[in-house]
């Protein structure tokens, strides 16, 4: 999702995540950007409508209620003169206990943080000349930026082996089995080559 820092785009992002996942409500973690709670409610909230009372006046607006299994925790940074002095967490949806239990279950996360996505952002800055900080090769058109990101994400998911995902194997010649993120996610079964990515049959007119 490429766009300005506004609520509508946050809603689109969350709707995109919901549409690509299998309907299971994930455990969300984010920084304090205020758009996220409304966006999560927009994507995952259950609409509650109020019956008409029969009395005069405008009927009550329907409200969005958080589903019971929705967990959302925020990382709150405390700053003093621009420097971060302390970090605390805040649970927005769900209970502290439930979030703790979720973290215990998780194979990777131990704390409420956004490290994985920050690392991913860094990878993206590394892989896209347009996203490099203080560069002069920035995009002049938004569409081009989006296109570059589509290319880089596909390359990252399907072609480039991820060092953090490689698995140790017992073999004489090989110590590690390389994996791409898509392999780990069970989408593909081998590391794709560039021809495989670009000659894959996709129907342009479904």
């Amino acid at each position: 999702m490429v766009g300005r820092h506004i609520q509508a785009n946050a809603n689109k992002l969350l709707a995109g995540i919901r549409d690509r996942s299998n309907g299971h409500v994930p455990c969300f973690t984010s920084d304090e950007l205020k758009h996220y709670d409304a966006a999560i409610m927009h994507a995952y909230g259950i609409k509650k409508e109020f019956p008409r009372t029969g009395r005069p006046g405008r009927p009550r607006q329907p409200i969005l209620l958080a589903p019971k299994n929705l967990l959302y925790a925020q990382v709150v940074k405390h700053r003093k003169r621009g420097h971060i002095v302390d970090i605390s967490t805040r649970i927005v949806f769900g209970t502290k206990k439930a979030v703790k239990a979720k973290l215990k279950q998780s194979p990777v996360s131990r704390h409420i943080n956004t490290s994985f996505v920050e690392r991913n952002n860094l990878t993206m800055r590394h892989h896209n000349r347009r996203l490099v900080r203080k560069t002069i090769s920035f995009s002049k058109k938004r569409e081009r930026l989006e296109k570059q990101l589509h290319l880089a994400f596909a390359y990252y998911h399907f072609v480039k082996p991820h060092l953090g995902l490689r698995q140790e194997i017992m073999d004489k010649n090989k110590k590690y089995q390389n994996q791409t993120p898509a392999m780990f996610a069970g989408i593909t079964d081998h590391i794709w080559t560039m021809p495989e990515l670009f000659c894959r049959a996709v129907f342009k007119h479904p």
Partner: protein
């Protein structure tokens, strides 16, 4: 390498399995020429693919795309591979459209258990009039969408 096997007949025949015959290879890059077994018309293997319309050979196009997705700029890639800047841009556009479709096709119904949300700040800028320079400075945010969701959930 299943390079340039046709996806469908450009003349509107329904996609059937093994409905194409390799007639011959033509041109400097040995591009395959196919014949649709249903309608009998011939078409290029580059038709409807990322490579259609380019004079560049496939290996160079792959290298250009790899360079672009490893963090090399458009002009730099054009200089490295002795191509025109506009050719590289066209390659990027074609490839991106294809990659978008591949991602849409494959990344769905993903069992997501954890999701971290964050933004990535970047900007798009174009100087149209010098006096309006500051007004045209559009900060834009790149929110990591499907991509980050996939990788961090798997890590």
């Amino acid at each position: 390498m299943n390079s340039l096997s046709p996806l469908r007949c450009p003349h509107g025949c329904k996609p059937v399995k093994q409905g194409f015959k390799l007639v011959r290879r033509y041109g400097p890059h040995y591009t395959p020429l196919y014949e649709c077994l249903r309608c009998g018309q011939q078409f290029s293997g580059r038709y409807d693919s990322v490579f259609s319309g380019f004079h560049t050979d496939e290996q160079t196009i792959y290298r250009v795309l790899k360079a672009l997705s490893e963090g090399i700029g458009i002009r730099a890639a054009a200089r490295i591979f002795d191509l025109d800047k506009n050719t590289v841009v066209l390659m990027l556009e074609r490839a991106a459209e294809h990659c978008k479709r591949v991602s849409e096709q494959l990344i769905k119904n993903y069992p997501m258990d954890e999701c971290q949300l964050d933004e990535l700040w970047s900007f798009v800028k174009k100087r149209k009039h010098v006096s309006q320079h500051l007004r045209n400075w559009q900060p834009s945010m790149v929110i990591n969408g499907s991509g980050s969701a996939l990788t961090h959930a798997t890590k």
